[in-house]
């Protein structure tokens, strides 16, 4: 008798899986796979967030450790419907539940990489002088810290998305369809993720405010308004 394919038992098995295996997991028991991804996101992104927030103090570490996985989960949930609609429209024969699981899987891979990098991030943070009198927002130390943390997030994000390409290509039977679907999902997730991050700020250290889970002005303005305003100032002085 053939038994349904069990979800990954370990992180190693999950990361080493071939596209065919990923497909079988998605088709077999997506709820159990989603559970695995959920745990990976909470632990992986949580530990990276904690390492990042530790620069300020342990409370900020706790808050950021909660908020970073939250950004990913809220982005997946918020875009779940849109991603599920875009996939078949662009040529990928997948159900809503399947697209949801695949996006979650991508975030899980990203989170696992972030979790693996969290000791390094913690070491960098531990070496950064605190954001007090001598070190300020304009200090090279702050820039170095921001840059390193951002590079790690970018690296993890790239890995998480690149791992989806072979699966989508094999699933859709076409490289171009796979690219279009991934691009569409990526744009939607970046768009929503940026705004959720904006709402849930601060992640590292807001020198003007005490430690708090979400800033008081969290719903004032948006990420894109700020970017637009900054661009306007640069162009029109």
């Amino acid at each position: 008798m053939v038994t349904p394919l069990a979800p990954p038992r370990s992180i190693g098995a999950f990361l080493r899986a071939e596209p065919g295996r990923f497909y079988e997991w998605v088709m077999g028991q997506p709820s159990r796979l989603a559970g695995f991804c959920l745990v990976s996101i909470v632990i992986g992104a949580g530990s990276y967030g904690a390492a990042t927030g530790y620069w300020r103090n342990p409370t900020q570490a706790l808050y950021t450790g909660i908020k970073l996985p939250l950004v990913m989960l809220l982005t997946t949930l918020g875009n779940g419907l849109l991603n599920g609609l875009l996939a078949p429209l662009l040529g990928l024969n997948a159900t809503f539940r399947q697209t949801f699981t695949v996006v979650l899987m991508s975030f899980a891979i990203t989170s696992i990489v972030l979790g693996a990098l969290s000791p390094v991030a913690w070491f960098i943070v531990w070496n950064a002088p605190p954001l007090t009198g001598r070190t300020n927002i304009a200090s090279p130390e702050y820039a170095m810290l921001q840059l390193t943390l951002a590079v790690f997030v970018a690296l993890a994000g790239v890995i998480g998305n690149v791992r989806l390409i072979p699966l989508l290509r094999q699933w859709a039977g076409s490289g171009s369809v796979a690219r279009h679907v991934l691009l569409a999902w990526l744009m939607g997730n970046l768009f929503l993720g940026s705004q959720i991050s904006w709402v849930l700020r601060p992640f590292i250290w807001d020198a003007n405010r005490p430690v708090e889970f979400i800033g008081q002005d969290c719903f004032q303005g948006s990420f894109f308004e700020t970017v637009f305003e900054a661009a306007r100032r640069v162009i029109f002085l």
Binding site: V2, T3, P4, L5, I11, G12, L15, R16, G20, R21, Y23, E24, M27, G28, P88, L89, L90, G91, L92, N93, I109, I112, V113, G115, A116, L117, S118, P119, V120, W122, F123, I124, W126, N127, A128, P129, P130, P140, E141, M144, L155, I159, R163, Q170, W171, A172, G173, S174
Partner: protein, 269 residues
């Protein structure tokens, strides 16, 4: 739904489950199309009895060491390799400490050996994840073994460089130069260590070396930052640990500036 959607070309769920149930565990050795499988030479199957044999194997028969690291019960070998690495790092540390003498004769070996091991521990999770992502069929114990091989080869080579470092330590008082020299020796030693590690991963069915290459950059940055976090290593200081936090680039620029202002005799590193 789009009419042009192709039928999923992949196999069905039940077939897949059956296929996977029948599929044996992937072999640890590499496929015939890849490099020569480890252990095909009887000499590579000879167990490594002690630490000196491990050093000899690392230099002359790296394939034997790689094969033995994949065998059950390799833990003892890995511990032995780590012990050699710790000892050699301490020996090199003593040589580095002779530049300033005094308390640095014991502080430098402690800092170099501990710093190296802490750097390795910080980078171990990312190494394991990146090797998994590259498709390498390596267990965590094997990854630990390869990392131990990297550390051992690196520190053995540093001991090889020790006489040269000692001669320079005795004949110069320019700290910037000594820092540069130690970093150059460390870099050369690390490159050989990394080569051994990559050789090990090439026998683990890795599809790509990109992840390991990224990890190497991370390891180098962490190790270099560790020299700043544990400063002074070759210079003198009133305190064992630094009282101010800095990144390595800022620290190096400060050191070089101070050295040039003090006619090249600054003793803080």
């Amino acid at each position: 739904m789009n009419e042009n959607n192709p039928v999923p070309p992949l196999i069905s769920q039940t077939d897949a489950a059956q296929r996977l149930a029948d599929k044996p565990n992937p072999p640890l050795a590499i496929s015939p199309s890849g490099p020569r499988p480890l252990g095909d030479d009887p000499a590579e199957r000879v167990p490594i009895a002690h630490a000196f044999a491990a050093i000899e194997a690392l230099l002359r028969q790296p394939r034997r060491l790689l094969f033995q690291l994949r065998q059950p019960g390799a833990g003892k070998l890995i511990v032995g390799m780590l012990f050699v690495a710790f000892f050699c790092a301490a020996v090199y540390g003593v040589v580095a400490g002779t530049f300033s003498g005094g308390t640095q004769l014991w502080a430098a070996p402690v800092k170099i050996a501990l710093g190296l091991f802490i750097s390795a521990a910080i980078c171990l999770p990312s190494l394991y994840i990146f090797t998994c992502l590259s498709g390498a069929q390596s267990r965590l114990a094997e990854v630990c073994g390869l990392l131990a091989g990297l550390l051992m080869l690196m520190t053995i080579l540093l001991v090889g460089f020790a006489p040269v470092a000692w001669i320079f330590s005795q004949s110069t008082n320019y700290i910037g130069w000594m820092g540069f020299l130690h970093l150059a020796f460390w870099l050369v030693a690390t490159l050989f260590g990394v080569r051994f590690m990559k050789n090990g991963f090439s026998h683990a069915q890795a599809k790509s070396q990109a992840g390991v290459n990224v990890w190497i950059i991370i390891f180098l940055l962490v190790a270099v930052q560790m020299t700043t976090a544990l400063r002074p290593i070759i210079g003198k200081s009133d305190t064992f640990f630094p009282t101010e936090k800095k990144f390595f680039l800022g620290h190096w620029f400060d050191t070089l500036r101070e050295a040039s202002e003090n006619n090249g005799t600054a003793h803080r590193y």
